[in-house]
Each structure stands twice: as C-alpha cells, then as structure tokens.
C-alpha cells in the first residue's frame, strides 16, 4: 500500500465560460515521480496553479500528507511543503545565487544572519542531492541548467517535500535534460515527491513512475508508466489516434535559392549573436537549424527576413543580394517571394487586438486584392480570411473574432496560412509548433512537407529536436552563434545532435 503525498479530489475551476478543470482527481504517491500530461489548454497548468495557491478552486479538496489543507496563496502552499519551479525562471539577474535563494527569507533588516543560514543549508542540500551550484556567482552568469538547479534549491531550502516542475525541459539541451533526470531520480530516492508537467511524451516515458493524462479540463487516465507507450499516451491526450511520425518521401533538391556567406550579427548590446555563418538552402528541401534557444537562431532568422542589420557577410536570394540594413527591406523581400513565419507570433506575427481577418493581412495590407488606392476593402479581406480559415482548419472559423481569443495553435495556423498561401519561393519558419496542440502539429508538419514537395525552399528553426529530425532533409546545428555541424537525419541521432548543440564539434574535418 503506497502512501499519498498529495491528493486532489473533485477539483473544479471555471474562468467565465471556460471550464478549465472539471471535477479533476489526482493522487500522487509519496516518493514518486508523477507526470502530468496534456495538450495546451487541457487544464494541467490550472490544476497545478490551484495546488500552488495561485488560484482558488471553485470546489474540491486537497490533502497533503494525509491532512486536508486549504491553500489560498503560494505562501500557504510553501508552508505545506509544496514547491514549484516555473517554466520561466523567477530569479534576479543581478543577484548572486545565495542572494536569490534567500529572497523572501532574509531574516530581518540586516541580511548577514539569513545569508549565513542560507549558505549552510545550500551546502548541505548540495551534498545530499548532488545539486551543486557556485554560490557567489551572479545569476546572469549561470547556464540555463544551473539556473534551474537554483530554482529547485529555492524550493528545497523552504523544506519542500513535493516539488512541481512546469515544463522543466523546454530550455535545456539533451545532455542537460539527462542531468536533470538524474537529479530528479535522486530527489525521489531521498523521499521527495516530484510532479512534472509537460507535453513531451518521451520525457514522461523516461523519468516518471506514474502518469496522469488530462484532456479538455478532464482527467482521462492514470497510468503506470511502465505499462503504457507514447502512442497510447498521445491517443489519450488528443482523444483520437495520432500519427507521431511524419510521412515524407525523399527530397528532390533543385537550384540554390538562399546563399549565406560569412554572416556575423551583433545585438544592441554589441554581443556577437551570429558568428561567421555560411549556409545554403535549395529549392525542394527543408534545412533545419537545431540548437538550444538563444544560440543565435532568432537573430539569424531576423537578418534573413530583412528585419535586422548584420555586421558583415553576404546573403543572396536567388542570386540577388539581401540588404537587411536597407529601409523597407522586409517589404522588398516579400515582393521577391520570401515569406517568414516568425518565431514569436505574439511579438511579430500577429496583432492581438486586431480581428483575425486583419491579422491575416499583416504585411500584405498593401496588396491590390485587399482594396483600391488608399482604401481597404473589408469585405474582400473577410472573404480572403474565410478561405484561409477553411483551408487551414482554423477554429472557430470566424474572421471577425479578435486574434487574442484564438488558441495558440489556431493563431499559428492564421500566420502559416497567411505566409504559405502566398506561394513563396523561400519560407523561413521559426518554431512552427511552439505552444501548438499535437493535432495541429500533425497538420502543420504536413503543410510544410507539401510545400517542400511543390519545390519550395524552406529554412526551419526549431528547438524541438523531434521536429527537426522529422522534417529536415539536412540539419545544421547552432551553438553560441556558430554552426557546429551538419547532418542528415538518417545519419544522426539525438545524442549526436545533443553534443553539437552543446558545442562539442566534430573531430573530423
């Protein structure tokens, strides 16, 4: 008979008409790693936010270590031994590790005593769990993996017995993910309870003991990890059979469309983000750029799209030079047949305050079809949007609905529809499936392959290795602004790419 660390029963939560949690039950065994999996909007974040006191449930009970508790704030949650590591780290960059950990527990007006206590605790915890970090280093100088360790330590210093990790692997290299899993297993073996919230099936399979699956606000399955499979989990998440593999024939590359030579880019602070990068993309192939986020891929994409000026280097689109520093270059490139699905659809790709039909003409608003002279033709724009919405299965198919009110996947489909339907000769795609449901991922992948098979050149940037492996005909790996290697998907694996992503270059050559 196992002992429960956390039992949530009959948890119900509504946000207006959105029923985020429908009488959800969750039982997490003490000293286990429990996975919570579901698509975006399935209600897993809401459930964890209720457990950590960010929201109050409309009804339902929570039991921690056998005692019924009422959790009204994160302070309550911490006092009951619950700690949370957020997807976006909540650290002060200009503080050292010790200062960050003691934040909120300084121990009075003078910090000396609190600091000494924290330091002692951190050393002890570091030994017990193998969570060692340099204590007096500024947080801004740590690697992402170390930052995450600091977050975990913050929870442990406050005597967390139950640790919630929200999408912990999103920003890690495969090697760092492995290290995280080793740490989590050690925490479990020392008697801690870990809850991992994720949408990555592979990680659930690798590290959890049990897994709970949520779909549309309901808990649909509790499974022993050993007794299930990724396919079964995907089916439970989506509610129908999902093809995890992308079907695609071999590429038939044609003429070179994009050539980049010796491209170097510095950001506003003068830091080199892209260093001497050369690459080419041919018609009818998908070139994937793999890498941990923040290694120069974003800047590379922006320069190629004419949105950012490079320091030096040469870019040719069908042999014609791209001058990203020039005024209105993105407009000119669009006319030349370059289309761009930006990495961050909220920042670049859409205007959330606009109706869907207005967002669907962003960057194309000066095309003749959308009006005459200085005027826009609202009816034509609406019709155009309706056609795109049905072609890309955008739901709800309502061109007048505000862009912000669509789910992430449907917003992404609006951007893709806008860019793909213009029949580009080169498509730049950044993170095409970030924050997108499994069902929509399948759809988006199919569209990209279709476009490739129509002889278009595609440059894909993604931090999802599975996506890179599934779609690319050639894979380039970026680390610290440089290309550390080139592979074909048939002749590489995750380990190999992981090493390149971490900057370990190939010996040969």
């Amino acid at each position: 008979m196992t002992v429960s660390a956390v039992v949530m029963s009959g948890i119900d939560k509504r946000f207006g008409a959105v029923h985020a949690n429908k009488s959800v039950d969750l039982d997490v065994a003490k000293g286990s790693i429990h996975g919570l999996i579901g698509e975006n909007g399935a209600g897993k974040s809401t459930l964890m936010s209720i457990l950590f006191g960010f929201y109050a449930a409309d009804s339902g009970t929570i039991t921690v270590d056998g005692k019924a508790v009422s959790i009204r704030s994160s302070a309550d949650a911490i006092s009951h031994g619950i700690g949370m590591v957020h997807q976006h780290f909540m650290l002060v960059d200009t503080f050292t590790v010790v200062e960050n950990v003691m934040l909120g527990a300084e121990g009075g007006a003078l910090t000396a005593r609190g600091e000494a206590l924290t330091r002692a605790r951190l050393k002890e915890l570091g030994k017990t769990y193998g969570l060692e970090v340099p204590l007096d280093t500024l947080v801004s100088e740590l690697t992402v993996g170390e930052l995450q360790r600091v977050e975990i330590l913050k929870a442990l210093v406050r005597d967390a017995r139950v640790l919630i990790l929200d999408e912990p692997t999103a920003v890690l290299t495969p090697t760092e993910v492995e290290q995280l899993f080793v740490m989590l297993r050690r925490l479990r073996d020392e008697g801690k309870t870990v809850i991992i919230v994720t949408h990555k099936l592979k990680e659930i399979m690798a590290v959890t003991d049990r897994v709970s699956v949520m779909r549309r606000g309901e808990m649909v399955a509790h499974l022993d990890t050993a007794a299930t499979s990724p396919e079964a989990l995907a089916e439970a998440m989506v509610g129908r059979r999902v093809v995890l593999r992308v079907d695609k024939g071999p590429a038939k590359p044609g003429a070179t469309i994009l050539t980049v030579r010796g491209l170097t880019v510095k950001d506003e602070k003068g830091v080199t983000r892209v260093n001497d990068v050369s690459l080419s993309v041919r018609a009818g192939e998908i070139v994937g750029i793999a890498g941990v986020s923040g290694n120069g891929q974003s800047e590379l994409l922006e320069v190629l799209a004419g949105l950012r000026a490079p320091l030096k280097g040469e870019i040719l689109l069908e042999g014609r030079p791209v001058e990203s520093a020039a005024k209105n270059e993105s407009k000119r490139l669009r006319k030349m047949g370059l289309r761009h699905v930006p990495e961050d659809r909220h920042r670049l790709g859409l205007v959330k305050e606009f109706s869907a039909s207005e967002s669907a003409i962003l960057g194309c608003h000066d095309e003749a079809g959308y009006g005459s002279g200085p005027f826009l033709d609202a009816a034509a724009i609406r019709r155009d949007c309706e056609v795109k919405m049905s072609a890309f299965d955008v739901r709800p198919a309502n061109p007048d609905l505000k862009t912000a009110l669509f789910s992430g996947g449907n917003q992404q489909k609006i951007v893709l529809a806008r860019e793909i339907e213009r029949d580009p000769i080169l498509l730049l795609v950044g993170q095409p499936t970030r924050g997108v449901d499994i069902g929509a991922i399948e759809f988006i992948h199919k569209r990209l392959i279709e476009l490739r098979d129509r002889g278009k050149a595609i440059l894909l940037v993604s931090v999802e290795l599975d996506e890179i492996m599934a779609l690319s005909d050639r894979i380039l790996v970026m680390c610290a602004g440089e290309i550390t290697g080139e592979r074909t998907p048939e002749r590489t694996d995750e380990r190999d790419l992981g090493l390149l992503m971490a900057g370990v270059r190939e010996r040969a050559a």
């Binding site: 946000f15 207006g16 959105v18 209105n328 670049l348 959330k352 962003l362 826009l376 009110l405």
Partner: protein, 370 residues
C-alpha cells in the same frame, strides 16, 4: 464559444454603460462637494442642464464649445492610435490661429470663399508644422513626444506673446491683438444660416466650423478603420514589433499622426478666431487643448465617442457658466472642480469599474486563465 465567453465585453457595456456610470459617479462626488459648500446639488444640476440644453440659446453655446473640443479631442486621438500621446494641442491650436491671421492679414484682397478656404488650410498647416517637430524628434531622435509637446506649448505661448506685443500688434489698441479681420474672412454663424432658411435662432457663437469639426471626425473614422494607412497606424500603435515585421515604418507613421494631430488642433482656431473673435488674440485656447485629452480618453479614441464626450464637456462649460451666474455660491472655481471630477472619473479612472461590474453582470472573474 462566443467572443463574450472568451473575455470580450459587448459594445453596449464598454461603450454605453461604463461611461454613463463613470459620469454618474463624477456627478455624485461633485454633488457631495456642492453640499459641502452649502448649496443644493439638485438645484445645481437643474440649472446646469437648463442652462446648457434648455433653450436654443443654450444649445448654441453648448455646440460652440463642443466644436472646439471635437478638434482638440481628435488631435489627441489620432496620435493615440499609433501609440503616441500628443498633449501639445494647446500650442498647435495657437499656431493654427497664427496661420489664420497670416492668411487674412496678407491676402485680404481675395474673394471671400477662397480666402476662407485658405485660412482653414493655413490653420491646419501651421498646427501641423508645430506638431511636426516633436513628431520628427520622437521618430528619429527618440525624444518623447509627451515632453516635447508640453515644451512646445510654452514655446507657442511665447511666440504668440512676442508677435502680439511686437510685429503683429494692433497699433491703436492696449490689448494683445491684431487688427480686425476683413468681413470676407468670417465663418457664417448658425443663426445666420438658419435665418436664411426662415428658422429663427438667437445669436450665438456657433458657426460653420461645427460642420468642419464633424467632417474631421468622419475623416478620422474613415482613415483609421477603412484605409491602408489607418491599418498601418493601428498596427504601430498595437504592436510596434509586428509593424516592423510587416515592413511598416514606425518612424514614418509617427510623423504622419503628429502632422494630422497638429492639423486638427490647428483647425480648432477656425471656431474661435475665424468664427468669433475676428482677430488673433493671445491665449484664445483657454485650456481647450488639455480638455481634448480628457475628451479623447473618454471617447476611447473613437470619433463618435469623441463627439459625444465633446458634447458633454460643452454642456459642462455652458451649463457651468449659467450656474456661476445663477448660484452665487457656485464660483467659477467650483465649476472647474466639477469638470475636474468628470475628467478624473471618465478619463483617469476609466478602468475602475469596468472589470468589477463586468464580473457581476457576466459572472466573469477578474483573474484570467493562463
């Protein structure tokens, strides 16, 4: 799922109930202030409304004040759509007045209709030119328009003061004013126009510039929601990075909206200078540029809202004047207190009730799903 269920509030609520509630609150608090000085709030409201709307005379004055506020409100709103806060309406209006005076005093020999068209153009042009400098500085040098437009208000006062004691001063007068305009440079008053149609109306300052103001409101609506340029303006205002992605130059848009805002503010002078004063005087704006900020906020940047908010302020100005006349306790300063409360509740505290009451009506919690 309907838009409403996903967090969108219906129009009758956000554009109807909320503003009415805000104004009601302002009057409630104003009522308490009136009580505190020992006057009757009920009487005050009665006199205010009767004074503003109870007679053709009152209505004429109310619309005359509203005309001014429509211009200065649009001046703030158009820039606001591109994310900029043009609070230089005061100075831009003064320059508009200067534009009118320059045209009339130099081209008085022209036939009346042509002269009037040129004066309107002159008002718009000089107002726009005055706003161009802060706009250009914002776009290309990163100087914040809020700071620069405030400074340009002072510069405008200084410039007009200098011209009216010096080069443009009427030689035989003690006051700061130019020579009177020729008769051909006068906008027809509403009572004259109605008189031709056989409708009697007492003489009020309400003049043809009211129609010009409504035309400007219509122009703004078409521009912002029906043209490619308006699309670009709204994109820059709502998401500047997306505008960059779309190949829209935020700098160009910044300069354009400031030019337009300056032109609207400049045309305000047609009401005051061309319609009423018939000469350029100092300080004729009397704070109308600042009332325009409140009007634009209350009208939520929409031309219809701006016209309605301008009418409200027209009522407050005209009714307030009557109130000061009829109730000795209600001094001019008290009227300013009431106007200030309306600005406070309708402009600055605009969002105070919005979410809370929406929660009661639509059972929508304030917190938002992650």
């Amino acid at each position: 799922m309907s838009a409403q269920a996903r967090g969108e509030l219906p129009l009758w609520y956000s554009a109807g109930l909320v503003p009415v509630l805000n104004v009601a609150c302002a009057f409630l608090v104003a009522g308490l202030v009136v009580l505190a000085i020992g006057a009757s709030p009920i009487d005050a409201v009665r006199i205010l409304l009767r004074g503003a709307l109870g007679s053709p005379y009152g209505i004429g004055y109310t619309l005359y004040y509203a005309t001014t506020f429509i211009f200065t409100g649009l001046a703030v709103a158009i820039a606001f759509h591109a994310g900029h806060f043009n609070i230089g309406g005061e100075g831009q209006s003064l320059l508009g007045g200067l534009g009118i005076a320059l045209v009339v005093l130099n081209l008085a020999f022209l036939p009346s209709p042509l002269l009037i068209l040129l004066t309107i153009a002159g008002a718009a042009l000089l107002g726009a030119a005055w706003a161009f400098i802060p706009g250009w500085l914002q776009a290309y040098r990163g100087s914040h328009v809020v700071i620069t437009t405030i400074m340009f208000n002072f510069l405008a006062f200084g410039l007009l003061g200098y011209l009216l004691v010096g080069p443009m001063k009427r030689p035989d007068s003690m006051s700061l004013e130019t020579l009177p305009f020729v008769e051909g440079a006068r906008l027809f008053r509403a009572d004259e126009i109605l008189g031709w149609m056989g409708i009697a109306m007492p003489r009020t300052p309400l003049n043809l510039s009211f129609a010009l103001a409504l035309l400007c409101a219509l122009f703004t609506w078409v521009l912002v929601w029906r043209t490619r340029l308006g699309y670009e303006i709204r994109t820059v205002g709502a998401n500047p990075t997306a505008a960059h992605y779309a190949g829209i130059s935020s700098k160009r848009i910044t300069v354009i909206v400031m030019l337009m805002g300056g032109a609207f503010a400049g045309m305000m002078a047609t009401n005051e200078i061309l319609g009423v004063q018939q000469r350029l005087i100092a300080d004729f704006t009397a704070g109308a540029g600042f009332v325009g900020i409140a009007v634009a906020l209350m009208g939520r940047g929409h031309p219809v809202g701006i016209v309605l908010a301008s009418l409200l302020f027209g009522v407050l100005y005209q009714g307030g004047a009557e109130l000061a006349f009829d109730m000795p306790l209600m001094t001019k300063d008290m009227i300013i207190v009431i106007q200030g409360l309306v600005i406070l509740f309708a402009g600055a505290l605009e969002n105070m009730f919005r979410e809370r009451i929406a929660g009661w009506i639509f059972r929508k919690p304030v917190e938002v799903a992650p």
